[in-house]
């Protein structure tokens, strides 16, 4: 049986606006947590800030500003000019 979540169909918009808006907030929090973990993993695996930024579709400055301080002291992100 195919998992319904795996189908490439857009999710149904919840009937109640309160539920729909709550879902937006929950998705943003989830995305934030996935981003934090994913950026950390990528840098740890040797990706440059430039590569991470391109993969995320944001500028290098944006991703650096968001994560550099958080990940300082972990041995990642020290190669500022690295490509």
């Amino acid at each position: 049986m195919v998992d319904k979540r795996m189908q490439l169909t857009p999710p149904t918009l919840p009937e109640d606006p309160a539920d729909a808006l709550a879902a937006v907030g929950a998705l943003r929090r989830l995305a934030d947590q996935v981003e934090d973990a994913a950026v950390e993993r990528a840098l740890h695996d040797g990706w440059s800030w430039t590569d991470v930024a391109e993969a995320l579709g944001v500028t290098r400055q944006a991703v650096h500003k968001k994560h550099a301080r958080r990940l300082r002291g972990t041995g990642v992100g020290l190669r500022r000019g690295a490509r």
Binding site: P14, R29, D32, E40, H67, R69
Partner: protein
């Protein structure tokens, strides 16, 4: 905001809310973090605030909200978050709660703003995670407010 009128307890609550957001790995400090911080206070537990119940209700709210758009939330056994939290910033829901706390103190003619006013401010939200979680936990907000 009239932060200088906050009692030591109220300030400690605000700092504890920041610690709650940090521990949860959230990028922002929200009203729910104020609520969890308040639920650690014995004087408010005596009014019926139950940390475990609130944590469970907030998790249930998250799961329900994600499920409504077809996303299965990961269980507590498989944390998705980073071990390295961001420095969380105060977000609108927490700011609004503190504004309502200031209003509640003014309305009662209280010169100082304490943790109970912060709780009134948090409970005053009409929308967002806190009222939704309180509803899931079937907490009688009006009765709780009356006890404050």
């Amino acid at each position: 905001m009239a932060f200088e009128r906050f009692t030591k307890d109220a300030r400690a609550t605000v700092m504890a809310a920041r610690a709650e957001a940090l521990a949860a790995g959230h990028a922002t400090i929200e009203a729910e973090h104020l609520l969890l911080a308040l639920s650690e206070r014995p004087d408010l537990q005596a009014l019926g605030l139950d940390r475990e119940q609130l944590s469970y209700a907030l998790a249930a709210e998250e799961e329900r909200s994600l499920a409504a758009v077809g996303v299965a939330a990961s269980g507590p056994d498989e944390p998705i978050g980073s071990r390295r939290p961001r420095d969380p910033q105060f977000a609108t829901s927490a700011k609004l709660a503190l504004h309502r706390a200031v209003s509640a103190a003014a309305k009662r003619g209280d010169r100082r703003l304490d943790a109970r006013h912060v709780l009134l401010g948090v409970l005053g939200a009409q929308h967002g995670r806190v009222p939704r979680a309180l509803q899931i936990a079937e907490i009688d907000v009006d009765a709780l407010r009356a006890r404050i």
